[in-house]
Amino acid sequence: MKKTFILGVSALALTLAAPQAMAAKAKEIKIGFVTTLSGGAGVIGKDMRNSVQIALDHLGNKMGGVPVKVLFEDDQVKPEVGKQKTEKLLYKDKVDIISGFIWSHVVLASRNSVVKAGKFLIISNAGTSKIAGRLCHKNIFSTSWQNDQVPMAMGEVLNKRGVKSLYIIAPNYAAGRDMVAGVERTFKGKILGKDLTKWPTQLDFSAELAKARASKADGVFIFYPGRATNAFMRQYAQAGLTKTPLYSVFSVDSLSLPKLQQAKLTNVLGTYSTQFWAPDLDTPVNKKFVADYRKKFGSYPSHYGAQSYDSIMLIDSAVRAAGGDLKKMDTMRAAFRKADYGSVRGKYVYGNNHFPIQDFYLRKVIADADGKWTTKIEQKVYTNHQDVYASKCKMKKTW
């Protein structure tokens, strides 16, 4: 008798409470994902979109029980287009969260639109020093790194390997200058020369390579993402610089390696790069991600993909924490800050600027068991490394 009474009251309470809970829970979650889908850099966007797809597969297309829809937009590597597409996603498609962004200059142009709309921005790649520092914001999170961290790790590697002198070649835009600043910050040897090339139109590097060879440096450091990687690698081989070791960041990766292998540029094998992640990184989440990606798309995912996978998973953790109620911005923000989700890189924490404090590895290019070229982790360079711009961000760490 008593039991039925309690049951009856609970049921009554539920029917009263339920409609409110139902009303708060979103019917559908829309995520706007800005990336590059056209032109030469479209290959990066494709990898990101594929990885988002894997993440959605793993989530069963639902976050906290709510169906998810991801809308992709193409920024054409142009800041003005990126901003326009971001605003289209915010005001026309009325998305709940903005994610993606490959390019530093594109995310810088689009940042204010997202902030003004009062939405979360989860950056999947672009690690500009400005957003990590002065332009940090309570609603902006990164699932990648700050640009400087990766070349800083490379600088440490160069010191350890006894490289005494270095020649630097990088493109002349926001990220290119960040990369150069990064390696210069940690490399203790002498920098014999530095060339910043016109971006993204300059694909002829004959002048720069001739200078690099004339400098007789122990090593050459480069940053050439996207299609420029292959042009550079090929000209590096043709210029007879094969004896000078090449150290790269964000250039030799799962996207460029199949093409480099196709071109039989064997001088790439054995070269070093630094990164927070590699396809062989030994975490359960990463193994599953890489295996499922390879099964579905037949190639290795890149770090762009790994970060995009993480962006979706991070968003999922926040949506679940808020019980599917996307209006609970504070609850979601607290969940984002905890970074309590299955990341491909394993557990990490967020710094006060909402950039990950994480490990970085040295990777070497090898041929895998099937003869496919890929990168393999050689050693850990940094443990729990935080970017140097965090101190310029006015947010305080309260979590």
């Binding site: 030469g40 290959v43 002349n172 060339d195 002048a207 000209q235 540029l265």
Partner: protein, 307 residues
């Protein structure tokens, strides 16, 4: 101050880059000068040539065969375009031509993406061409020497064609006075089709030669087309000789600017400022040259229509 070895090597690089520009400029200047047709899609033909050459050489494992297929294939595409689309535009203004051929650029970029995907193609070279030849203790990439050789051969071929043959005479006549050539009973339409096809084949050759250096990618034509336009404006529109001199000039200035401007700026600027200012200034040099040439010789260095 400047290492003479480096100077010589950069001169070589400049000449090589100029030759590549010449291969493109020769076709464009013929079309522009003789047909009075502003063809922005010239870069698309360059891209198409690069993709076809890359695909064939990947399948057959022969770089030569790639070029041998790319040239006639692009020539056919060029003739098709001329007959189907461009012919209707001759009587319209330049603005209409620019609009239509810009549309063709977009069309070809998407077409290439549909066929080959967004990633671009790498062109494997025979390993012998991936090496460098040491000359006066300077390693010069063998492939770039080959590019120079091909460029010079094309220049020679065009010289003989334009100056020594009857077809060349008609081409020159067409450039000087189109109406008169028509009035003399020559089928100017046929000459136009021929010239456009030749231009397309030259663009394809440039693309096929550029592939192993830059890789075949979508939009590769637009990047280089602006410099090519500068070349033909400096050289004199319609003049092959002008295109040759202009291309070498632009190539050498571009490379020299990139090589030594930074060091030069450091003489009177702080290092940091010099490093960022130099690439910007280097990419302006050729436009400054163009402005100078236009000021003193508005017809270009070798005006084709002068007489």
């Amino acid at each position: 101050m400047v290492d003479p070895h480096l100077l010589f090597e950069q001169l070589f690089n400049g000449v090589q880059y100029g030759i590549l520009l010449f291969l493109l400029a020769a076709g464009l200047t013929l079309v522009f000068g003789i047909m009075d047709m502003m063809n922005l899609a010239h870069g698309s033909l360059y891209m198409l040539g690069a993709y076809i050459a890359a695909t064939v050489s990947l399948v057959t494992d022969s770089f030569l065969l790639g070029i041998a297929v790319a040239l006639p294939a692009t020539l056919v595409v060029g003739i098709f375009l001329e007959v189907v689309i461009l012919r209707k535009l001759y009587d319209r203004g330049h603005l209409d031509q620019v609009l239509a051929t810009f549309g063709m650029i977009l069309f070809f970029n998407e077409l290439v993406r549909l066929i080959w995907g967004p990633a671009g193609i790498e062109v494997p070279l025979p390993s012998i061409l991936n090496q460098s030849l040491t000359l006066f203790s300077i390693p010069l990439p063998l492939y770039r020497i080959l590019v120079i050789g091909v460029g010079l051969a094309v220049a020679g071929f065009l010289y003989v064609l334009v100056v020594k043959t009857k077809v060349g005479m008609l081409i020159r006549a067409g450039a000087s006075n189109r109406e008169m050539v028509g009035a003399l009973g020559i089928d100017i339409k046929k000459i136009f089709t021929l010239v456009f096809g030749l231009g397309a084949a030259l663009a394809a050759l440039a693309g096929a030669m550029a592939g192993p250096i830059f890789a075949a990618t979508i939009g590769m034509g637009e990047n280089i087309l602006i410099q090519v336009l500068v070349v033909i404006v400096i050289g004199g529109i319609g003049s092959i000789r002008g295109a040759f001199v202009g291309a070498l000039l632009i190539g050498v200035i571009e490379i020299m600017g990139r090589s030594f401007l930074g060091d030069f700026f450091k003489l009177f600027l702080p290092d940091n400022a010099a490093e960022t200012a130099a690439p910007a200034a280097a990419s302006m040099l050729i436009y400054i040259l163009m402005a100078g040439v236009l000021f003193f010789r508005p017809q270009g260095l070798f005006p084709a229509r002068s007489g």
